[in-house]
Subunit: 361 residues, 2 copies
């Protein structure tokens, strides 16, 4: 509340008008009057400046500066029949994995005319409610980081002709050809398996994500494919069901520890870093050392991976890029870009980061 104005010079002349007590904020009408032109001209100065003569344009801008005028977005949106916002649907905001994607998204949209609206699917009463965002003209487009949108919901969207303004990022919806931006999950899982193989491991287990998740399926399939290709021994109990969480990693550790030394794998590839860290914690608690007694590879390369003990070998997903690309593609679409590009799926490259949780056998 202190406001010790230094010196005498008053800065911020721009908004000076709006400062006083009541002083209504300037409308387009006021600018028009100040510049001695019509409101149409002012509007044009803002949206299509090259339609105006040099002098008029200057005069309008001067008047805008003077009055501290700002476009009223509600009015503009009403007239333009758009919302000026996009919705980002997040499965779980509490998960750091998603927040970094958000960061990339946010960066791109910040530079655009659109605001970013965020909705956690967990806090959504009914998925159908999503359509309302469009129908209420609260959003112009949507990016879903949640692959578990029901086909029914998407059908509803399609019937209301909004599905061409929806993009999936990171996860996607199986069986529906919405455009999407995602990591090369197959390559990631293959890299992980190959790495373990190269270190001499043959008995390799995999802790999956939640069963119905698309990522789970792709990564598991890649594991099975690698297993076949590399001619690795296959045991059903070496595919352990998880759900990406720390807790499920720890639970997986118990499953592995319950196996006799003969049956136990020598390496584990986890579908997420959190799972890997949970697994390592579980193994550690039982006196099984990583990587001496067992090698572990994660997926994601969250910040903490580098600082874990042992530092985690993992597959890096470039989440910033994922977010940025998704944002760019949606913007493109909203600004009248091609409706359905041939390249409906945009794969972002992944890479193997070798640290200390894996070791040659």
């Amino acid at each position: 509340m202190h406001c010790i104005a230094g010196g005498t010079g008053t800065e911020e002349p721009k908004t000076a008008m709006a400062q006083g007590t009541g002083q209504r904020t300037a409308r387009i009408q006021d600018v028009a009057r100040a510049a001695g032109v019509s409101t149409a001209t002012v509007s044009r100065a803002l949206s299509k400046p090259d339609l105006l003569s040099e002098t008029t344009r200057e005069a309008v801008f001067e008047a805008i500066r003077l009055t501290g005028y700002r476009v009223n977005q509600s009015a503009r949106n009403l007239r333009r029949q758009r919302a000026g916002a996009v919705l980002v649907l997040v499965p779980n905001l509490g998960n750091p994995f998603f927040s970094q994607i958000l960061s990339g998204l946010s960066e791109v949209f910040a530079a655009s005319e659109y605001s970013v609206l965020i909705q956690d699917t967990n806090h959504l009463a009914r998925q159908d409610g999503l359509l309302d965002f469009f129908l209420d003209q609260r959003i112009d487009g949507m990016i879903s980081l949640d692959g578990s949108l029901s086909v029914g919901t998407l059908d509803l969207m399609a019937r209301n002709a909004v599905s061409d303004r929806i993009l999936c990022a990171c996860e996607w919806v199986a069986g529906v050809d919405l455009p999407s931006v995602r990591s090369d999950n197959h390559k990631g899982a293959t890299l992980a398996m190959r790495h373990l193989y190269d270190l001499g491991h043959r008995r390799i287990a995999h802790v999956t994500g939640p069963v119905q998740n698309v990522l789970t399926q792709v990564r598991r399939d890649a594991v099975l494919a690698a297993r076949a290709e590399l001619d690795l021994p296959a045991r059903p109990e070496w595919i352990v069901r998880g759900d990406f969480s720390l807790a499920s990693g720890r639970a997986a550790a118990e499953r592995l520890l319950a196996m006799s030394a003969n049956d136990r794998p020598s390496a584990v590839f986890c579908a997420s870093d959190e799972t890997a860290l949970g697994l390592i914690a579980g193994l550690h608690a039982a006196g099984v050392q990583v990587p001496d007694d067992m090698s572990v590879v994660g997926f994601d390369d969250i910040d903490l991976a580098e600082y874990a003990i042992p530092a985690l070998t993992t597959i890096r997903q470039d989440r910033q890029t994922l977010g940025r690309r998704a944002a760019e593609r949606l913007l493109n679409r909203l600004d009248g870009g091609p409706l359905r590009a041939a390249d409906t799926v945009d794969l972002v490259d992944v890479s193997l980061v070798v640290r200390d949780s894996t070791r040659a056998i």
Copy 2:
């Protein structure tokens, strides 16, 4: 894209109208016509239902159902002179710590009439731009999780009479009496120090957050106070400058390791869990074991703390609650609640969680 309709019954009669090809979405005018009333009546049915007679109200609702009418938010906002959205300002979206607060916020706002808009301060060209969100009528209120808003910016807000719609959560701005919701940081730091003291530690170091951060100041002051009260030895080099990050924890480890065994503290209280984990990683790399050779306490209780090796003793902040409370208070204010309650600061309790990174000396 599949849409295998089961059976003959057509569900979703509600939006059935809007399905077809062109079919413009229904306006209030259409509903009025369908119900045989005026638009005013329809509007009233929606906002002040008890002004209408039972029969009229029913008729209107029936017409709304029939037409699949949805209020156009842009129009409503324009007329009501509001935005229907609040902005949440996050210092760093990539940081998991904030995302959980967002989760709490999001939960509360999802049930309200307001949408949540997110902005990462890092992607903000100029802080002054924030005022534009208000001036453009893009938001009705704002919650800042960033304590580094400049006094200048806030002054500008005040001059434009929007500062009574701003709330701080988690962090706050020093010297400005904006209402805020925050953890009891002093208690937290005191609990940490007390815990180490009770374990017999006397030589206790502290790794701070970034210098200009308010949390840093409060926590450091509490450390100094506890030190004085418990009559602990004080060495200037035992206060190590950090910035909440993993990297700064590792850097702090190097500082500590550079001290001779005589000068080295036996315990360290870190201003964040990430710093603590970075510190432990740094110590580990140098062969110094936690907690055997040194005890470490963190602050935050991020999810990973429980799964770290060793599991991290820390101060738990209830971020969900922090977010929820902040959201509730802002909502209250926006819906015409008291402008400046006496209880401008809402302290959320914290607690000590003892795990394996601390040990009696």
